[in-house]
């Protein structure tokens, strides 16, 4: 069974601080996605990484896919209250049309 583990589960930081969220698995994924979810809403895709070692930037967010395509990280620089939310990683299950999701990291950025 493929699993995606995220750490930390909860993170509360002050505005302006930096943080990193990790998504790890023992399985190889052909692609991995990061989503952000606001309370009462469905997840919204932030980025997809597909190549081992790939780095993508989205404003203050930097996403990296591990060389072996088993793990990924999300780094936020100078966090802002608007970054508050639940961050989820997801990977495709090889040979199927299915995706598995990590357990999520709940981030709270205090003003």
């Amino acid at each position: 069974t493929q699993l995606l583990e995220q750490s930390p589960q909860f993170l509360s930081i002050q505005e302006g601080e930096n943080l990193t969220v990790y998504c790890n698995s023992s399985s190889v994924f052909s692609s991995l996605q990061w989503y952000r979810q606001e309370p009462g809403e469905g997840p919204v895709l932030l980025v997809t990484v597909v190549t081992g070692g790939e780095v993508k930037k989205l404003k203050r967010l930097t996403f990296q896919f591990g060389d072996a395509r088993k793990d990924s990280s999300l780094h936020i620089t100078a966090a802002q209250p608007g970054d508050t939310g639940l961050y989820l990683c997801a990977g495709d299950v090889a040979g199927t049309y299915k995706y598995i999701f990590g357990t999520g990291t709940r981030l709270k950025v205090l003003a």
């Binding site: 996605q33 009462g40 809403e41 469905g42 919204v44 989820l88 049309y97 299915k98 357990t103």
Partner: protein
């Protein structure tokens, strides 16, 4: 925003009653998914569909059935609801990736249905 609606948005029901949740899309996407979201578990796949009348099970399919009689609608049925099925249910859609026929990596999610089984 992708055109996905879920109905109802909130429902309270009693143990043993049947419940049907509806997902409707206006995007003509081939793939549709039902997930449940519970604290500490993230999103878990219940069932998914890769075309009209084509469905398959996900990791937590016990106690649930689905039907897709037309492209735009994907129904999730709890034949006899139990308290363990209290959860927030999300529908998602994904487009066909083209030549391969596989879904693209982008899933668009609906607003969710909060179901409480007493």
């Amino acid at each position: 925003d992708a055109g996905i609606t879920q109905s109802p948005r909130h429902k309270v029901t009693e143990t043993g009653t049947p419940v049907t949740l509806r997902c409707h899309q206006t995007e003509n996407h081939r793939y549709m998914y039902w997930y449940r979201q519970d604290p500490g578990h993230g999103l878990r796949l219940i069932h998914y569909s890769y075309g009209v009348k084509d469905t398959d099970k996900g990791e937590v399919s016990d106690g649930y059935s689905v039907s897709r009689s037309k492209t735009e609608d994907f129904l999730l049925t709890l034949e006899s609801a139990t308290s363990s099925q209290t959860s927030v249910y999300f529908c998602a859609i994904s487009d066909d990736g083209g030549l391969t026929g596989s879904p693209t990596d982008t899933q668009y999610f609906g607003p969710g249905t909060r179901l409480t089984v007493l």
